[in-house]
């Protein structure tokens, strides 16, 4: 069963045509990496999946819900589709632990004791149990991002979206975040859609690689094939540029 399905999707910002004729199917449990030059529409595409950006034409099905249908309750989708942002977006007015516990408490009405136990287990998993009572401002970028991942996981989503999760991090912080992401991909049957420039991560973790440029999907191949020999010329060029430094 497909978790995410784009059918002839078009997205405009005023006159700017941000997504052009997107057709894409991602199955439940798949890990898909989305790459491409900046301004190619990767972030826009991933943000449409949980309704942070609206589409103007076509059909977008997520977990069986039609996002283009005004009757669809976005909160129901977001409950099952988590998102990790480039700039973390942790709640500045809450402690690390509260950041993780808030949504399960308000949205899922999870029992308080169980909620705390699960939140602590998640913090343990991302290696930050000792920071539970800190405010986000006291954490480094890499720590913030691991908390943000724990916050998303606390909702037990079916699908996790990562929008350039390591782009705002210092190089020495990137490894820890990628390690956590890799463990999620390997240990769970969660669907993952990841926008990233980390080719090593893509190679190691992705089932499929999608290459975008100018708002279009130019290539959609298995990871192995993509890194061996992309069929699209721009993808080839992009890959050689990324690999050369």
């Amino acid at each position: 069963m497909s978790m995410i399905e784009f059918k002839d999707v078009e997205k405009y910002y005023g006159d700017f045509h941000a997504l052009k004729d997107i057709n894409l199917k991602i199955d439940a449990g798949e890990t898909v990496v989305l790459i491409g030059p900046s301004g190619s529409g990767k972030s826009t595409l991933i943000r449409t999946v949980n309704g942070l950006e609206e589409i103007q034409e076509g059909q977008l099905l997520v977990d069986g819900f039609d996002l283009h249908d005004p009757k669809t309750d976005m909160n129901k989708i977001r409950k099952n589709v988590g998102m990790v942002f480039q700039h973390f977006n942790l709640y500045n007015n809450k402690t690390v632990l509260e950041n993780i516990m808030l949504a399960p408490r308000l949205v899922l009405k999870r029992d308080e004791e169980e909620n705390k136990k699960l939140a602590m287990a998640l913090l343990e998993r991302v290696g930050l149990a000792d920071k539970a009572n800190n405010m986000p401002s006291a954490l480094s970028g890499g720590q913030k991002q691991r908390v943000a991942i724990a916050r998303s996981l606390a909702m037990k989503p079916k699908c996790l979206l990562f929008d350039e999760p390591t782009s705002a991090l210092d190089p020495e912080m990137i490894g820890d975040v990628l390690k956590v992401m890799r463990e999620i991909a390997e240990d769970s049957d969660m669907t993952m859609l990841v926008v990233t420039h980390e080719m090593g991560f893509a190679k190691a973790v992705a089932d499929r690689v999608i290459f975008m440029a100018d708002g279009q999907i130019l290539e959609d191949s298995s990871t192995e094939q993509f890194f061996k020999e992309p069929s699209n010329d721009r993808a080839k060029k992009f890959l050689s540029q990324v690999a050369n430094h």
Binding site: N75, K79, F85, N89, Y91, N92, K94, A103, L106, S152
Partner: protein, 217 residues
């Protein structure tokens, strides 16, 4: 010095302090009402509801650009013409609340606007509703940023209650005038006493601001 002793007799002091009580009562009621009303108006303007928000914004702008004294006169002298007759105390509270709500709403809208958009996206992407996002994430952060301008505005409010002496509200300012009208030697002592009273009330407000600032940190 003898002027001070003659002017600030226990009797006069009691009379003035009762006026201070009225000033404080009007202020506290107006602060509560205008804060609640201003929050609602501020949120409406912030949410950019089609047509409605801009309508509220326009009305708000009109109110903000009127002199407060005019609004006080309006509630006391004009409302009775359409059958709404309020005692002078409540006329003042209504006028002050109405005017200050308009002033506060702009501060609150600005505070909400200053919260990073990522905070909304983070909250919405974990499934929180718009209302939950506002209540748990955005408003607490916005209020914290708003404390300094908010308290300045509330200090203005306390001082502006003195305008209601124009409709014969028996507040501190009005009673001061009554006392020094008896004897022109009393003017300086009474004004000094009034200064002291207003200062204490407003200083307490700024202490409250510091306390809130620390607690919301």
């Amino acid at each position: 010095m003898t002027d001070f002793i003659n002017a600030l007799t226990p009797e006069n002091l009691g009379y003035l302090l009762q006026g201070l009580g009225i000033t404080v009562a009007v202020s506290v009621l107006s602060i509560i009402i205008s804060f609640l009303l201003g929050s609602i108006v501020g949120i409406v303007m912030f949410e950019k509801i089609p047509y409605f928000s801009s309508l509220v914004g326009t009305l708000n702008n009109i109110v903000r650009n009127l002199p407060l004294l005019l609004i006080i006169f309006f509630t006391y002298f004009a409302l009775p013409q359409i059958g709404i007759r309020l005692p002078v105390f409540w006329s003042t509270v209504v006028a002050m609340s109405f005017f200050e709500a308009a002033m506060l709403s702009e501060i609150i809208r600005g505070g909400l606007d200053s919260v990073d958009k990522g905070q909304f996206e983070g909250a919405r992407s974990t499934g929180l509703s718009n209302r939950q996002t506002l209540v748990h994430i955005v408003l607490p952060q916005a209020y914290k940023k708003m404390i300094p301008p908010l308290i300045s505005q509330l200090i203005s409010l306390v001082k502006d209650t003195s305008l209601a002496s124009g409709i014969v509200l028996a507040d501190l300012t009005f009673r001061g005038q009554v006392v020094y009208a008896q004897n022109s030697h009393y003017i300086v002592p009474v004004l000094v006493f009034m200064t002291f009273c207003y200062f204490v009330v407003n200083y307490l407000l700024s202490l409250l601001a510091k306390h809130l600032d620390r607690r919301l940190a």
